[in-house]
């Protein structure tokens, strides 16, 4: 059997092993490859910078489950750090049941760095309500209709931050973090009907399908996958907002090496395919 035939029949477990090494080694020996910031991420950063400090809040939708947490958690942490460090107010809402847990975990992770930030004054965590589309629509009329209390059972009317906040008119910018099609519902209902400015943080899988919406302006910016999170971390570190561990940035080295390995395997796989095809043709001609 020729070399290329052997490559074609390579046991897939060797491929798994190579990928595992490609991801493991950069963790143990960081390469610190440079990260360049792209426009969709910069647009999100600029939109958050436009949110007035101690004014109308940034609404963050944590519409994801633990299965997409490796890509979306770093975005949540970076957004929370950006806001808390610059005294921008945050409102968190979850349209997935596990999303409430993700939001709470994010707060638990970030709040120890900002002891002066208080619930009800600097941020409000609304919690989870089933209904997705109907929740988005009702929030456009009056938030208290669908969230009479925050996630901790405290009435919204008694929270100082919520005094002038009733619906999307009182929200500066909306950032939806989701690995599914929930951002489309935010665009369709909050964006189209109530003209709320929306940005999206999503997994790399879904990022490709949201580019048309980025072009039309229905999304004001996008954080796509772990790279998007790493770029955002770079921007907030550059401004000096935080010195926290940059989870996404650490992962980008592994991402780059893994991609190179995959590219290499695709190329030699294709060469092997065409080489073995022509070898089979030659063998047929000579034997036939």
């Amino acid at each position: 059997m020729g070399f290329w035939e052997k490559v074609m029949r390579l046991d897939r477990r060797w491929v798994f092993f190579l990928i595992a090494l490609a991801v493991l080694i950069p963790f143990l020996k960081p390469l610190r490859l440079p990260i360049s910031v792209t426009k969709p991420v910069k647009d999100i950063f600029d939109e958050v910078e436009k949110v007035p400090p101690e004014g109308p809040p940034l609404l963050i939708g944590t519409d994801y489950a633990p299965s997409t947490a490796p890509e979306l958690d770093p975005m949540l942490y970076a957004l929370l750090r950006h806001c808390f460090a610059t005294k921008r107010r945050v409102m968190l809402v979850a349209l997935y049941p596990q999303g409430a847990g993700m939001a709470q975990a994010g707060l638990d992770n970030v709040l120890p760095e900002f002891p002066e930030v208080k619930s009800g004054m600097d941020y409000v965590f609304l919690g989870y309500q089933p209904g997705i589309g109907s929740v988005i629509l009702q929030m456009g009329e009056e938030i208290r209709r669908v969230f009479p209390t925050d996630a901790y059972g405290v009435s919204l009317d008694s929270l100082p931050m919520m005094e002038y906040i009733h619906n999307y008119d009182d929200i500066a910018f909306m950032m939806d973090l989701s690995g599914s099609s929930v951002p489309m519902l935010w665009v369709m209902y909050a964006g189209a009907r109530y003209e709320q400015r929306i940005g999206v943080g999503t997994t790399a899988v879904s990022a490709a399908q949201y580019y048309p919406f980025l072009n039309t302006g229905q999304f004001k910016g996008m954080l796509g996958g772990l790279k998007g999170a790493a770029e955002y971390e770079k921007l907030i570190k550059k401004k000096g907002y935080t010195e926290a561990r940059k989870v996404a940035t650490i992962g980008m080295d592994a991402q780059s090496i893994a991609h190179l390995v995959i590219l290499f395997l695709i190329i030699i796989g294709n060469i092997a395919f065409f080489a073995s095809k022509s070898h089979r043709k030659k063998t047929k001609l000579t034997s036939g």
């Binding site: 798994f16 493991l24 890509e71 489309m184 997994t203 490709a208 048309p212 039309t216 996958g225």
Partner: protein
């Protein structure tokens, strides 16, 4: 035989590396982190071969997910939306006065939802059409104008908005040929067939780009797990 030998050698090497990491790093003191890490490794063992550890983890996952799902739906859908408003907070009684419509607004949807269970009977299975018709009708009614707006109008407008440039031309050709590919009323022969062929090229290129983006997403998930194993579990990285 060769595979068995390789497996034993590989396992010994992994064990040595693992013990080394335990000594050098700061392994987690939380039993839950250890359980999560071990279950992660059990699932990953599937990459080598189906085995008893993978089977255990898979069955555990399926069982826990069903139990968790039931409790989430019970708490969030039934208790929050039906039981509490009907019996605890009594939202249909305002200032001591009874209001019929708020009560019906809870009772009627609950009854319609219960009709979904009729599918499990033989004779009354047709009743399930009522709640399905309501859900489909309502979601179609809400989403049709918004879908028209968000998908058809915005995208047609953006495709229309061409400039005298190559990229605009490519975009228009791509949109039209892709739409032609999904034209089912005529056979793909002649000019229509050729246009559809160009369309499938555009579709495949788009899928290739999407696939590439997804590779990044999958590797990111692996990176997330590696971060958990190396940072949260073994503590060998900072």
């Amino acid at each position: 035989m060769k595979e068995r030998k390789g497996l034993i050698i590989g396992s010994v090497i992994l064990l040595i590396i693992f013990i080394g990491m335990l000594i050098k790093g700061e392994p987690s003191k939380s039993i839950l982190v250890w359980i999560a890490a071990l279950l992660t490794l059990f699932i990953y063992s599937f990459l080598y071969r189906d085995n008893i550890f993978y089977k255990f983890a898979e069955h555990l996952f399926v069982g826990v997910s069903v139990g968790y799902g039931i409790s989430v739906y019970w708490q969030n859908a039934f208790i929050r939306k039906v039981f509490d408003p009907l019996f605890i907070t009594k939202t249909y009684i305002v200032d001591g006065q009874f209001h019929l419509w708020p009560l019906l607004a809870i009772v009627i949807p609950t009854l319609m939802g219960l009709l979904m269970l009729s599918i499990f009977t033989k004779k009354q299975a047709w009743l399930i059409r009522i709640p399905i018709a309501f859900v489909v009708g309502m979601s179609a009614g809400i989403s049709v104008p918004s879908t028209f707006q968000a998908y058809i109008f915005e995208h047609t407008k953006n495709t229309l908005y061409i400039t005298l440039s190559i990229s605009s031309f490519i975009m228009i050709v791509g949109v039209i040929t892709t739409l032609v590919y999904f034209f089912f009323s005529k056979e793909h022969k002649g000019l229509l067939g050729k246009t559809a062929n160009i369309g499938i090229w555009f579709i495949m290129i788009a899928f290739g780009a999407s696939f590439g983006y997804t590779v990044m997403a999958r590797i990111s998930l692996l990176i997330g797990r590696m971060n958990f194993l190396l940072y949260d579990w073994l503590g060998v990285i900072k």
